[in-house]
Amino acid sequence: MVEPEFWNREIETAPAEKIREVQLEGLRRTVAAALRTRFYHRRLKEIGFTSPEDIRSLDDLKRIPFTTKSDLREAYPDGLLAVERDDVVRLHTSSGTTGTPTVIYHTRSDLEHWTELTARCITATGAGRRDVFQNMMTYGLFTGGLGLHYGAELVGMLVIPVGGGNTRRQLKLMRDFRTTVVHATPSYMLHIYSRLEAENLTPQDLSLRKAFLGAEAYSESTRRKIEGLMGIDCYNSYGLSEMNGPGVAFECIFKDDMHVWEDAYIVEVIDPASGDLLGEDEEGELVMTTLQREATPLLRYRTGDLTRIRSGVCACGRSHRRIARIKGRSDDMLIINGVNVYPSQVESVLMRIPEVGTNYQIVVTKEGALDRLTVKTEIYSKMFTGDAAALEALRGRIRELLKAEILVGAVVELHEPGGLPVYEGKARRVFDERVGEQG
């Protein structure tokens, strides 16, 4: 058995009381910073918070209203800036494809904290200074690339900052420098696998041992599929730009849910509809509060991501609470003929079928008064026997397994390997083509 490694053993294994103590201090600091922003100054005053001393215990957090994505948009560009602009050393904005973007500022200290958290994550997977780290996440305003970059350097890995896309170059770099660890989206990792043959490579020609997979929700069956195809270990990574980016929560060598760094964040789970606080192990929307950030403090930010919180010391010895694999976003849910369906359920079914390839799409259309779900999936070339009847049977099996999982009948389309569009960053797999209001 591999021994767990720590970047900062003292804090990572601190007893729960110690963590709560650190959190209370951090929450006061965050409220103090928040009071310096236009946005929170007004909002906190409304509930009678005018100084950090108004926070007497962690329970007082519950009195603070949630912060939403639209609050962030409203506060754009500087309504949430808590420090002098000269003290800011970097900013990241969201793409703003759906309207006004959002912005998160970082001071030098913010970046140092973020880097430390990512160093902890990397170390928790057993990766370290002997590894060659190829970062396939896009660099730039998207936090995926820069986020892990500095942590990897701090840990002492040899970092290849290639960024996203250009699969042929990725594979060449992987071979030439014997890359042992990559950071990518799960869909890009599947795409890399599907391109190996065209480059006359097999997974055995590579030195790859680990992949950090994040930036999109994916299922346990997808993880297993990638691990099986590539012969590597995959570690689930959770992050969002509002909470810095990658480095928020990560799996350790035991891959038993993701460790949240509770000295840096307070996590809560709420019922996304009512906003009521849920207990441990109950599934709901993750709400997060920053504890270390100076430039853009966020209080009770609704992440939109669905998960469960779980306490208890992990086999690795880390004491911070863990969150389960993200099931999806609360706004991802599709209502198909009155039935709630999460894309992650469909993915989970598809990825455990060996004949299914590395890409799929979910399309919902309107057929008269009814919704029609079409699941398009590529077939896995190595499982093709040449038999059309076997493909018909496969199609039937996919349909049955889907029906059992999501309780909705689906039209299943089989596509050629590489026949469906590829996304090199975050994959787009769900196409809701129903027009107008949905039931």
Binding site: S381, G386, A388, H415, P417
Partner: protein, 142 residues
Amino acid sequence: MAEQINIFVENRPGRLKKVTGLLSEAGINIRAMVIQDRGDFGVMKLLVDDPYKAQRVLSKAGLATALRNVLAVVIEDRPGGLYKLAGILDEHGVNVLDGYGFVIASRREAVWCIEVEETEETRRIIEAAGFRILEDSELYQM
């Protein structure tokens, strides 16, 4: 035994062009072909002069392919030629999964390629009835 290459293709314009283009570039000659249509997808079955090379080329281009054994039976190219063979198969309860034919010498000889479940046994039955089955080299060099 002869092998044909089966290729999974989506049923949309351009797929036949793609496959034949790749083979043409690689200098592979197609002897015969048939497409098994299943609605939104199909299986293209090709008899070529170098099935292994064809598979390498097509797989490298990302297509799902599989080599399948076929029996290439020489029949007479005149009325009743195929009927005679069909009678033998029927007599022995051989179920033909798929088949297609082509002429090699007009009015004299044709080849009927069949896919069956029990290839070896079927070969014995057909040969015992006096039919000739083309070896792979004969078929590919034709």
